[in-house]
């Protein structure tokens, strides 16, 4: 018996069991063996650096991405989040019965990374703010007869606004949703108001810096989903849809400053969410108690504690990566520290995705059942509508056994690790002319990836324990 610190999760009715010790040991061992194997079989010339892009048939490409299709995607992209905001404002405050939270934080936030990683940047056509921005920009051009004038985006700022925004989005869901020391989870109306505030902010920034510029560097969802999309196999070039070698587009992703911060923020926020259910439980509790003893209110103490640890996670993950980069910089023939720091950032994208799968796979499977049954039929959750006749359905929690969840979790971490190593090795062969030095530099990235993957496994092994 222990008093548990409440965790602000609005939607999780079934939490994952901790990965058993034997599976943890197997997972960690496989990671180490795979890593040493990777070192010995490495290829000597880069394979992913060059663009290999083949156009799809013109008709197919046109049908999928020409203007009528764009209008359709854009309209759908505005309608569904619009519905979520409406449901959040007008619907029930029960988070699990309201369309808003599941749509924004599960279907969108977890669904787009999943589809992007295989297909490419699928969020771009559905991006509601981009759609609105383009319509407004088009209207301006038609009326004024000239392109709207934009401020010059400060290049040094790069993707930092998106990195900070990403932390803020996760913070809202897992930290803010607490009141009176009780974790009630994020309330739907709060999520809706936040979405409206974000809309105002995003449209303003688009007006200032231009729609495409802001999507490339500042708009959280574009940058975040787009990052995963770089691993996917479809891409648009000169208005034509084509197939590219998977992973290859990622090699150019981090050239914008602050990109490393985005991928670090992703790993860190998922880590924090996983760790608060296990690894950090004791530390969170004692910090919380200390704050309460110091006279801080319960809600503030809870939020302050969680915020503190989330920020610590960010710096912790960044530190591990930077140590690896520092180590590589010491290998003869290395490019500058700065170049290495951006040059290897994309190798962490697969790890970030693996963390997402490890921590949210079961939530996604369970919650999507709700999304496509009762939440679609009764978006407000008030029992007033039954649009598709599925309003009385429920979630079948028997769909996944604990074993299935464990294998997916550990499997994702191992596969993410291997892909990360692949990208890192490839980049090293591009940066170091000498193959032996390239391999030597990769001891460092290998240590970084082993650290992240084993930490991920560790988090799973103590989650909800």
């Amino acid at each position: 018996m222990s008093s548990l610190l409440p965790i602000a999760h609005a939607l999780v009715a079934r939490k994952d069991l901790p990965v058993p010790a034997w599976l943890f040991a197997w997972g960690a061992s496989i990671v180490l063996i795979v890593s040493f194997f990777a070192l010995s079989v490495g290829w000597r010339t880069p394979r992913f650096e060059k663009d290999r892009w083949r156009p799809l048939a013109a008709g197919l490409s046109r049908a999928l991405i020409a203007l009528p299709a764009q209008i359709f995607y854009g309209a759908l992209g505005v309608f569904l989040p619009g519905l979520a905001i409406y449901a959040g404002l007008r619907g029930t405050e029960a988070p699990d019965r309201n369309f808003a939270l599941t749509f924004l934080y599960v279907t969108t936030w977890l669904g787009f990374p999943l589809f992007s990683i295989f297909l490419g940047d699928v969020f771009r056509p559905f991006n509601p703010w981009r759609a609105v921005g383009r319509v407004v920009g088009g209207g301006f051009r038609a009326l004024a007869g000239q392109r709207p004038a934009h401020l010059r985006y400060p290049e040094r700022l790069g993707r930092w606004p998106a990195a900070i925004g990403l932390l803020a989005v996760v913070w809202l869901e897992i930290v803010y949703g607490a009141s009176g020391g009780v974790a009630v989870g994020l309330e739907p109306h709060v999520a809706a108001v936040a979405a409206l505030v974000y809309t105002g902010y995003t449209l303003t920034m688009m007006a200032l810096f231009g729609v495409e510029q802001w999507c490339r560097t500042g708009e959280v969802f574009s940058v975040y989903f787009g990052m995963f999309g770089k691993l996917g196999c479809f891409g648009v070039k000169d208005g034509r849809l084509g197939v590219r070698r998977p992973l290859s587009a990622a090699t150019k992703w981090a050239t914008v400053p602050g990109s490393a911060a985005v991928v670090v923020a992703s790993i860190a926020s998922t880590s924090f969410d996983g760790a608060q259910e296990g690894a950090f439980k004791g530390a969170l509790e004692s910090t919380f108690n200390r704050l309460v003893d110091a006279g801080v209110g319960l809600t503030s103490a809870l939020r302050l504690t969680d915020t503190l640890f989330m920020v610590l996670c960010f710096f912790g993950v960044a530190l591990v990566y930077l140590i690896g980069v520092r180590g590589m910089a010491g290998v003869p023939g290395a490019p500058s520290f700065k170049k290495l720091r951006t040059g290897f950032a994309h190798t962490l994208i697969p790890i970030a995705f693996a963390y997402l799968v490890a921590h949210y796979f079961s939530l996604f499977v369970f919650q999507e059942q709700a999304q496509f049954t009762y939440l679609l039929s009764d978006p407000l959750g008030t029992g007033t509508t039954d649009i598709f006749g599925t309003a009385s359905s429920g979630i079948d929690f028997r769909l996944l056994g604990a074993n299935a969840i464990w294998y997916v979790q550990v499997g994702a971490l191992v596969v993410g690790h291997v892909i990360g190593l692949t990208l890192a090795h490839d980049r090293a062969t591009a940066y170091w002319g000498d193959y032996r030095q390239a391999t030597r530099s990769q001891y460092w990235m290998l240590a970084v990836m082993v650290a992240f993957t084993c930490f991920g496994l560790y988090l799973l092994s103590v989650a909800n324990a």
Partner: protein
């Protein structure tokens, strides 16, 4: 520097292996799937569980049994299994259902949003 670098990398791997072993051995030692039999009573005083959130562990297929004695009137909601039962102030309510779903679940006083039980069902 080169050999230092290699040594550092090997060192890092050794540290990781050591940590992995440590964790595995540690968790192996405390691997007590203490299955709770019989009926546990969760006493609610002033709307809060006495002694903190109760923790019950079962294996799949066993019968989950617990009783809630409450000094407040509320609804007890067993999440995941989605069982809801009303309890009156000064009254008690019995739960008795087969553990068919694996995972970790909460039971709470629905009106107060107060968690009173953490139920673990192992495969």
């Amino acid at each position: 520097m080169n050999s230092n670098t290699a040594r550092a990398a090997v060192g890092a791997v050794v540290v990781v292996v050591a940590i992995v072993l440590l964790i595995v051995l540690k968790s192996g030692g405390s691997d007590t799937n203490a299955t709770t039999k019989g009926v546990t009573t969760i006493v609610i005083k002033n709307g809060e569980p006495v002694g903190g959130i109760a923790q019950l562990t079962y294996n799949k297929g066993e019968e989950v049994r617990f009783k809630v004695d409450s000094d407040v009137s509320d609804e007890v909601h067993m999440h995941g299994y989605d069982i809801m039962k009303d309890v009156k102030a000064g009254g008690s309510v019995n739960f008795d259902f087969p553990a068919t779903i694996e995972g970790v679940f909460e039971a709470e006083l629905e009106g107060r949003k107060e968690q009173i039980l953490e139920l673990t069902v192992n495969p």
